[in-house]
Amino acid sequence: MTDTRTSISGGSGPARTGPPARPGPSAADELARRRSSPAQRVQHLLHGHPAISPALILVLTVVVFASLNPRFGEPQTISLMVQQTAVVAALAVGQTLIILTAGIDLSVGAVAILSMMLMAKTASENGLSGPVALLLGLVAGIAAGALNGFLVTRLKLPPFIVTLGTLSVFTAMALLYTGGRSVQQVAMPDLLNWTGEIIRVGDFRITTGVLITAAIYLVAGFALSQTAWGRHVYAVGDDAEASRLAGIRVNRVLFSVYVAAGLIYALAAWVLIGRAGAASPNAIAGANLDSITAVVIGGTSLFGGRGAVLGTLLGALIVQAFTTGLSLAGVDDQYRLLAVGVLVILAVSVDQWIRKVRA
């Protein structure tokens, strides 16, 4: 071996002694060039824009199912899927906000049902006018969100526990208030039913409820990415103590997130009235899991601080495309359950694979 004092040298930088410096391009440069195949460049692009990969998965899903059953790709079916997703997608925006702060909301469905029944019953039984009933429902959603927010920020309870508790409380309140009875379309003022109106865009038929959901996405997306409040939501979810030290009023941000989520749930409730054509205390049984699933498939981290509402929208659409696609393919319920489970794991695996590839 060489002498101790001379055996070490910089790879290609000028070294005191040792092997001659490698000339020209560095080893890393060479490596980088070798790797920069077109496929690699695509992966780079995907890495820079995280929403592209769930979007690709969605497109892939649609293409596969459309090839299995041509009806799937038709405008009617696509319109249908969009309508079917509208409510869960709207609820998932509120869930996204809360998960971004490293929380979780198990009371999603309960809040929506409570405000929906309040809107519907005050209008149908107490004779409140449409706008007043709607306003009352929205206020109820805000109040429910505020209660969650109060318990999380003031009593410093884990959001999981708070919303587990309020899930029971709000569910019980809705049952006690309605006695389990639903309110039919005809008994409700037009404003409440308005979200069910169909709008034709070429061959596509969407409802005004879909537009409300779209509006919720636009406003929430804008607020998260373009305002100081949005920054603070991310910062608090990322590291609450660092945010506090940096001067963010953590509790105020958290509280505002729960209130905003409550309002969004109430708006989703309005969309639900139009969609179901009735207000029923048994609607959306799977709201909790479905909304969380959309958020997580959309790439938002359950540990907070990372994610975006666009991903959530794609996540909701992916799940819907799976269920509708399998159903149109004539797959029976139990097999569909099995397939959806497999597909959810597959979709996220592909997404992870696309995101993980670096270089």
Binding site: A235, R244, L245, A246, R249
Partner: protein, 254 residues
């Protein structure tokens, strides 16, 4: 004489049974660099946390420009003009550099976009962030849009220091700002401390690096076992004396 810009009397802070601070007094004047030295666990970080609203002291009082103040949260101290780099840095790892620099003091776009839609002036903040970081001479940080978590330890520290330097109006507190920094970068931070003094701000600098302290400090607060073991100056005492007082090998006459 002038009123100290920041002064504290009899600060006490305990954690369960651990005594963090045990009746500490401190005065900081405008245009002065006050260094705080002491062994690990001597209570330096605890001292500046109570001064900047990050911790509520159990007892004692704090005055800013002679007025009794009580900071409930860091935001209060910040609004009063006290800017701090905590030892734990207090950055949000997933946010980019510019967002971290402007965290909790974001700037909006001019016109309707800013006032009504409350839209952030992302580009403006990014440009000004670039400038702040460049002033510190951290040349390896190029892109203000990369998340802080992808930076090296030293680069992160530079971001935190740049933030404090850019926004402090009365007092800047630095808790071991050069711990992870390279030689060049450390020198840059010391120059920055001197600039802040020239801008007539009060600076509190915590450091374990004695040559740095003796280079820039006007006075040196020696913290020992939660108490103040005395205040010296680089002229009155040598580095060796300072270390001796810190470790209890030497006591100052009462």
């Amino acid at each position: 004489m002038t009123t100290p810009v920041l002064s504290a009397r009899g600060l006490v802070k305990t954690f369960g049974r651990v005594v963090g601070l045990d009746g500490v007094d401190l005065d900081l004047h405008r245009g002065e660099v006050l260094a705080v030295i002491g062994d690990n666990g001597a209570g330096k970080s605890t001292l500046i946390k109570t001064l900047t609203g990050a911790l509520a002291p159990d007892a004692g009082e704090i005055r800013l420009d002679g007025e009794l103040v009580s900071f409930k949260r860091p935001q209060d101290a910040r609004e009063a003009g006290i800017e701090t780099v905590y030892q734990t840095l207090a950055v949000a790892p997933a946010l980019d550099i510019a967002s971290n620099l402007y965290l909790a003091r974001e700037e909006r776009r001019p016109g309707v976009l800013g006032s009504v839609l409350r839209m952030l002036d992302k580009k403006g903040m990014r440009d000004r962030a670039q400038q702040s970081v460049q002033e510190l001479g951290i040349s390896t940080i190029q892109n203000m849009a990369v998340p802080v978590e992808s930076l090296s330890g030293g680069q992160r520290q530079a971001v935190a220091v740049a933030r404090a330097a850019a926004f402090g109006s009365k007092v800047v507190v630095l808790d071991e700002p050069t711990a992870a920094l390279g030689v060049k970068e450390s020198g840059q931070v010391l120059r920055l401390v001197e600039q802040l003094r020239e801008r007539n701000l009060g600076v509190i600098l915590i450091s374990h690096n004695m040559p740095h302290v003796w280079e820039v400090a006007d006075r040196i607060h020696v913290q020992r076992l939660g108490r103040c073991a005395g205040v010296i100056t680089p002229e009155s005492h040598s580095m060796t004396d300072g270390v001796a007082i810190m470790t209890g090998a030497m006591a100052l006459p009462a």
